[in-house]
């Protein structure tokens, strides 16, 4: 039973396209996150949601739009993809003040 599952695992797409990444957790956690990890391994927070409510929106371009239909799901839609969007995107969830559980990541390559 996967705790935090992300799909797809790999995504190769052309510049200008729109794509979505899905994330689901079955841990009953209240908070979910999106992180971007660049080629230098830096984990940068993008968004956090608590019980479907947006908490953190960290100076991310408007082309990125998160959607949380319920507290078990946090999807990420990206419009007009650019070369600089290439990275690994991790979804994570946690209860308050407790360990984060990460999804396996989505490697996005924009060509």
């Amino acid at each position: 039973d996967t705790a935090v599952s992300q799909t797809p695992k790999y995504l190769v797409t052309q510049m200008g396209n729109d794509k979505s990444i899905k994330c689901e957790q079955n841990l009953g956690h209240d908070t979910m996150y999106w992180y971007k990890q660049d080629s230098k391994k830096f984990l940068k927070i993008m968004f956090s949601y608590n019980n479907k409510e947006l908490i953190i929106n960290e100076t991310v371009p408007n082309r990125f739009s998160p959607k949380s239909p319920d507290k078990a799901h946090l999807n990420l839609h990206i419009n007009s993809l650019e070369l600089g969007d290439s990275a690994v995107y991790f979804c994570a969830s946690s209860p308050r003040d407790r360990a984060f559980t990460f999804g396996s990541g989505t490697r996005l390559t924009v060509v």
Partner: protein, 108 residues
């Protein structure tokens, strides 16, 4: 603001010890430690919730000095399986920031 980790990289021989430091310019309420192996997701190691707290499992332990706004991760008698990138994270109100990571390589 994300915490600052040091060193950026460490190379060890099996059986040697290492210390990874994490400091913040802001007050720390909790410190998390994670390890990420190449091509995988970060995996939780431990969390320290209050100043003075120390934790450990196996030969990996950590301390949290709230006054100095820093935490340290101690790896003793390192094993090949310890290789990876270690991240500290500081969390406040659903906002978790990670340090830039410390790449640890353990050689036979």
């Amino acid at each position: 603001q994300q915490p600052v980790q040091s060193p950026q990289a460490v190379i060890l021989r099996e059986g040697e010890d290492a210390v990874i430091n994490c400091s913040s310019s802001k007050a720390l309420y909790s410190v998390h430690w994670y390890r990420q192996k190449h091509g995988e997701a970060p995996v939780f190691l431990m969390i320290l919730l209050k100043g003075g707290e120390q934790k450990g499992h196996d030969k990996i332990s950590a301390s949290f000095n709230e006054k100095k706004q820093q935490s340290s991760l101690y790896l003793t008698a390192s094993q090949l399986s310890y290789s990876g990138t270690y991240f500290c994270g500081t969390e406040y109100s659903n906002d978790m920031r990670f340090g830039a990571g410390t790449r640890l390589t353990v050689k036979p």
